[in-house]
Subunit: 168 residues, 2 copies
Amino acid sequence: MGFLKRLLNPTVDVPSAQLNDSQLESAGQPRIFFSLDRDLDLYELEELCDQVGWARRPIRKVRKAIQHSFLVVTVWEVRNDKRRRLIGFARATSDCAFNATVWDVVIHPQFQSQGLGKGLMQFIIKKLRESDISNITLFADPQVVDFYRRLGFILDPEGIKGMFWYPS
Amino acid sequence: MGFLKRLLNPTVDVPSAQLNDSQLESAGQPRIFFSLDRDLDLYELEELCDQVGWARRPIRKVRKAIQHSFLVVTVWEVRNDKRRRLIGFARATSDCAFNATVWDVVIHPQFQSQGLGKGLMQFIIKKLRESDISNITLFADPQVVDFYRRLGFILDPEGIKGMFWYPS
């Protein structure tokens, strides 16, 4: 997993040109791409979300959400037959100035617990920081609160609480 | 405060044409406008934020944030001399499909505790619902958690936690 080590080791500076739409390669390993390209097959994304048990959402609304997100990151595995497979996804909404909110972070179950989610989030933080956005927020399910905490996310700073409104 | 009663009473249906950029009037009272027009004097907005003790932010970034917000609502008082004064503000980022996050909710101290903040939030919820956005989120300071709770916002539903990342 040399490509992941290179990606995730904070002491190694991975040039953004390498992370952005280009391949992270390791001899004898499948290759992993991080991409900012939004032109993806939404049925493949739906399949990925199915894999982690998310409720299905109308494709037309997913398309709109991707169009209107500030940042969309996809993670791809390229196999030896050169075919690529979507194995990760995340996106962020933002005002392009102060705040961003990260949504829909997903890694294919086969690729979980290998640091790829961490790499994806570090990539997102890096991209948002490059846009001078300093307040990055998200809403974490209970089972991933510790995952985000290890990435530097803070719970309820100064008593600030995340709140939700749903139609009744 | 007839205009507020009309605005806030949930049993009275206020036509959106009336709420959107038009005046809510009551005989003998100053008139209050809700507006979706983003073309506002950012120094006047800064002055309003000063009134509630918010830290100053670069005008250029505030301009960008307003430009890239999904929804911007301003509240105006129009006095007898026809001059208008900014007395409230809020904005929301969104993916235009699933999620919206409300930021920078402010009511001038002189106009607080009169239901105007509630009216502003109900207006925002209404507008977001009209855009078929069902997940409305925000990050509430401890002293306004109950205010948002009364508006139907829920704290940590199913253990979901709001988390923040700031540059170290």
